[in-house]
């Protein structure tokens, strides 16, 4: 079944838990599009053949009764209500507008700039070092060197490491213009607006490499503002943290 759907409606192989619901809605709404378009197209072709001038030289004086078309309109109304209230609005409430809370959740800060992703991990102590615009000329994230919380923090550029099957929340900010944190394989996209902090989250469930694509025009280098998410086993992730603590690159 999944294979057939994938053929009909090609999407990136899914690599997150939450993206499943999004794909379901994607199939349903395109099913509605397909049914309506094919239905109308069949009617259209029949009408154009049946009522061409050479076959039907005199037009009817009145119109056909509207029952079928009002059924179609009501069908559209009901279908839209279902998709809206049973799928789209709940999905937004659960997956986009709120972030999950709990112990087994990891937080990563991402600071976007023209044309790179600065990634900031809290390190083994679980606390992010303080950042300030004053230090932006010294280091890309503006980390305050005097803050002890920041001593073991890890920063990377364009490389994100995540353990598989653990929910991660990205806190997104921008230094300069609007960017957008788009990860097609995770079905996640979130604009990053300077002056605001936005969030995106997902639970990766497949080990592998996935790309982050900037999805808002941010200047001449927009097309190459690419980041990599490396989803690895928990043990490998723990090892990576241990090896890199306090390293900024």
């Amino acid at each position: 079944m999944d294979n057939i759907l994938q053929k009909l409606l090609p999407m990136q192989p899914l690599a997150s838990v939450e993206g499943r619901d999004n794909d379901t809605l994607m199939y349903l709404i395109h099913g509605l599009v397909l049914v309506l378009f094919v239905g109308w197209a069949i009617y259209y072709i029949v009408v154009l053949i049946k009522f061409r001038e050479t076959k039907n030289s005199k037009a009817a004086e009145s119109h056909v009764a509207h029952t079928v078309s009002s059924y179609v309109e009501w069908f559209v109304v009901v279908a839209e209500i279902v998709l809206l209230f049973a799928f789209s609005i709940p999905f937004w409430a659960v997956h986009q507008a709120s972030v999950p809370e709990g112990k087994n959740i990891m937080e990563v800060k991402v600071v976007a700039q023209q044309f790179a992703w600065n990634v900031h991990y809290a390190g083994p102590d679980g606390r992010f070092g303080r950042a300030s615009a004053r230090f932006l000329e010294d280091n890309p994230l503006g980390l305050d060197p005097s803050d002890p919380d920041g001593k073991d923090d890890i920063t990377t550029m364009n490389q994100v490491y995540l353990p598989v099957n653990k929910t991660v929340i990205f806190r997104l900010t921008s230094k300069d213009v609007i960017h957008s944190f788009g990860v097609p394989a995770m079905r996640v996209k979130q604009d990053i607006i300077p002056g605001m902090t936005t969030s995106a989250w997902f639970t990766p469930n497949k080990i592998g490499q996935y790309e982050i694509a900037c999805s808002q025009l941010c200047g001449v280098g927009h097309y190459r503002m690419r980041g990599i998410i490396n989803v690895v086993a928990q043990a490998d992730f723990d090892q990576w943290i241990a090896q890199n603590k306090g390293i900024h690159d």
Binding site: H30, Y44, E53, E73, S88, R187, Q190, D191
Partner: protein
């Protein structure tokens, strides 16, 4: 205005003017709505073609990123295409200018200003617009704004490069091209506002006796709603353009938050502004603008379908209510363009719901046109072919808007080629084909000659096929996650590699589509002087008032006082001697 001077075979309208006018005052600085409409026609077709050519250049870079463009590439300078290879700066400039020119200088003037100017007085039985001089001013300010926009190509750093949407802060910190963009937009908006005031006043005050609102053709209704949309939606963008200008030139920070860090330095700005404000002001115009693009074409197609099915429009009253409802609703859906800016559930729930609701009147209008066809005697002439192609293409464009209108499915699709495919389906094989239909349909009224049928077919079929080859694959690419505004067509990303071959297909189809426009361009100019003469003032046997004028109509339009007796779509009335009963004839 004596009627003996007019006859169907009278070719030279300028013989009929009240007093002898010089060439300049008659054809250049004219206050006649028809001449102004034709001036707009030439300019908007020029801009449409120019904007299309920008895209043809971009499609080379998308299909073959980094490869030198053969022959033409050498003609560009080292600061745009050194050795024929396009720079990303130039690509972004072309993208921004393609969108801006197509929307604000091509499609909207063609649908609204060309057909509105030419047809509103004719279809309501008026001598001219309510404010002819203001009308002339609209045209000249449109031309000035358009020329200013084009002139920015000659700036040292080139024209604006931040998308047709000009989001802040990127546009605030961009080079001078953006300043020119803002100034010319301000002038174009003034032109649109004055036109819309003129159209509204004309439709309300200058209708012929008997021309009640119920008897107005649907095209006039469409123009009236369009004029209201422009009048109410453009001022916020005018205001926003001035605010962005202040940010750029006077050091304000309306759209600039505190603490921006640009190019390795803390930006020298006062800060405290909000980047999102621009998006809301822009899209408050931007969404009604979508209907400004669509409605005139919808009106044109309705006229042509009624005439060429020899039937009245089914559910005409329902269509009028739908278009009014559509107009109101178009002001409360704008934030479906900004779902991903960090909105909460309640706000997105509101905008998703209004977006779904606005699909209902659209479905009603399209259904009414579909039902009209049933039982008709359908004539497949060239204007009708274009009008018939409009319906399924526009319908498909509308349907592909549903996945974008739902906020959840918008997440993966936002800013991908799916969006590009969707709105181009609405605008290109939809609206543009509808506008072509209008040109073929009213050409005999404006010139006294028909456009060539064979060339019309040679224009229609390849255009329809190539448009689908261009825009359908974009939907597939978008579903696979290919982002828009990619200088290398997405080649940087591994996840795009399976779908990059579509770039070559799409670009090739676009270039063939360009060739398919040559029959039209030739037909347009050739038929103007050498086309087959029409032997009647009403060659399509239509019931609406514009065909009650001499061909072409002279200054003042009608040769006798007009009184309207019936509905605009009085075709195949029971007991009538002919299958059409003109609105101005007392007996059917």
């Amino acid at each position: 205005m004596s009627s003996e001077h007019h006859s169907a075979h009278h070719d030279h309208s300028h013989d009929d003017t009240h007093h002898q006018q010089s060439f300049w005052s008659q054809y250049v600085f004219s206050t006649d709505h028809k001449i102004i409409g034709i001036q707009y026609l030439f300019m908007s077709l020029f801009f449409l073609f120019f904007g299309f050519c920008l895209m043809l250049l971009m499609r080379w870079q998308i299909a073959y990123p980094g490869h030198p463009l053969p022959i033409i590439g050498k003609m560009f300078g080292a600061d745009s295409m050194p050795n024929g290879v396009m720079l990303p700066e130039f690509y972004n400039q072309l993208g921004a200018m393609h969108g801006t020119i197509m929307v604000f200088l091509g499609v909207v003037p063609l649908g609204f200003a060309v057909f509105g100017n030419y047809l509103i007085p004719l279809q309501i039985g008026a001598k001219d617009m309510a404010f002819p001089r203001l009308n002339m001013f609209s045209y000249w300010s449109f031309l000035a704004g358009g020329m200013l926009m084009l002139s920015s190509f000659f700036l040292p750093n080139g024209p604006a490069s931040n998308g047709w949407t000009s989001y802040s802060p990127l546009s605030d910190i961009a080079h001078d091209g953006q300043t020119i963009w803002l100034f010319s937009m301000a002038i174009i908006i003034i032109s649109s506002l004055l036109s819309s005031l003129n159209f509204i006043t004309t439709i309300f005050n200058l209708r012929a006796p008997g021309m009640t609102f119920e008897r107005l053709p649907f095209f006039i209704w469409a123009q009236l709603i369009t004029a209201f949309l422009l009048l109410l939606a453009f001022p916020p963008l005018e205001g926003a353009a001035f605010l962005q200008l202040c940010d750029r030139l006077l050091g304000t920070s309306f759209f600039l938050p505190t603490g921006l860090f640009v190019n390795g330095h803390i930006a020298n700005i006062s800060g405290g502004g909000n980047a999102l404000l621009w998006q809301h002001l822009f899209w408050f115009l931007g969404h009604p603008e979508v209907y400004v693009i669509i409605l005139p074409a919808l009106g044109i197609v309705t006229e042509i379908i009624a005439c060429n099915t020899r039937k009245s429009i089914a559910g005409f009253g329902m269509m009028r209510w739908s278009i009014i409802f559509l107009g109101f609703l178009s002001f409360v859906v704008w934030s479906h363009h900004t779902y991903l800016t960090g909105m909460g559930t309640n706000i997105t729930a509101f905008f998703q719901t209004t977006t779904m609701i606005i699909s209902i009147p659209s479905v009603i209008i399209v259904s009414a046109l579909f039902i009209t066809l049933w039982g008709g005697s359908i004539r497949f002439n060239v204007p009708m072919l274009f009008a018939l192609a409009f319906l399924p293409m526009f319908g498909f464009g509308g349907l592909t808007g549903l996945p974008l209108g739902l906020a959840a499915t918008d997440i993966p699709l936002h800013d991908t080629y799916y969006v590009i495919g969707h709105f181009h389906y609405v605008v290109a094989p939809g609206v543009v084909l509808g506008l072509f239909a209008g040109i073929y349909y009213w050409f005999p009224k404006a010139t006294g000659r028909k456009m060539n049928e064979f060339l019309g077919h040679l224009h229609f079929w390849p255009t329809l096929i190539t448009m689908n080859l261009v825009f359908f694959p974009m939907l597939i690419q978008g579903l696979m996650g290919l982002n828009r505004r990619m200088y290398d067509g997405g080649a940087t990303y591994a996840f795009n590699h399976d779908i990059l071959y579509w770039n070559v297909v799409i670009s090739s189809a676009a270039w063939v589509m360009a060739l398919a426009q040559l029959p039209f361009i030739f037909n347009f100019f050739y038929s103007m002087f050498n086309g087959e003469k029409v032997n009647s003032d009403n060659p399509w046997q239509s019931a609406t008032l514009e065909w009650a004028t001499p061909t072409p109509p002279g200054h003042g339009n009608f040769t006798h006082p007009i009184t309207v007796y019936r509905d605009p779509y009085s075709y195949s009335l029971p007991g009538a001697p002919k299958d059409y009963s003109p609105q101005d004839q007392k007996e059917i």
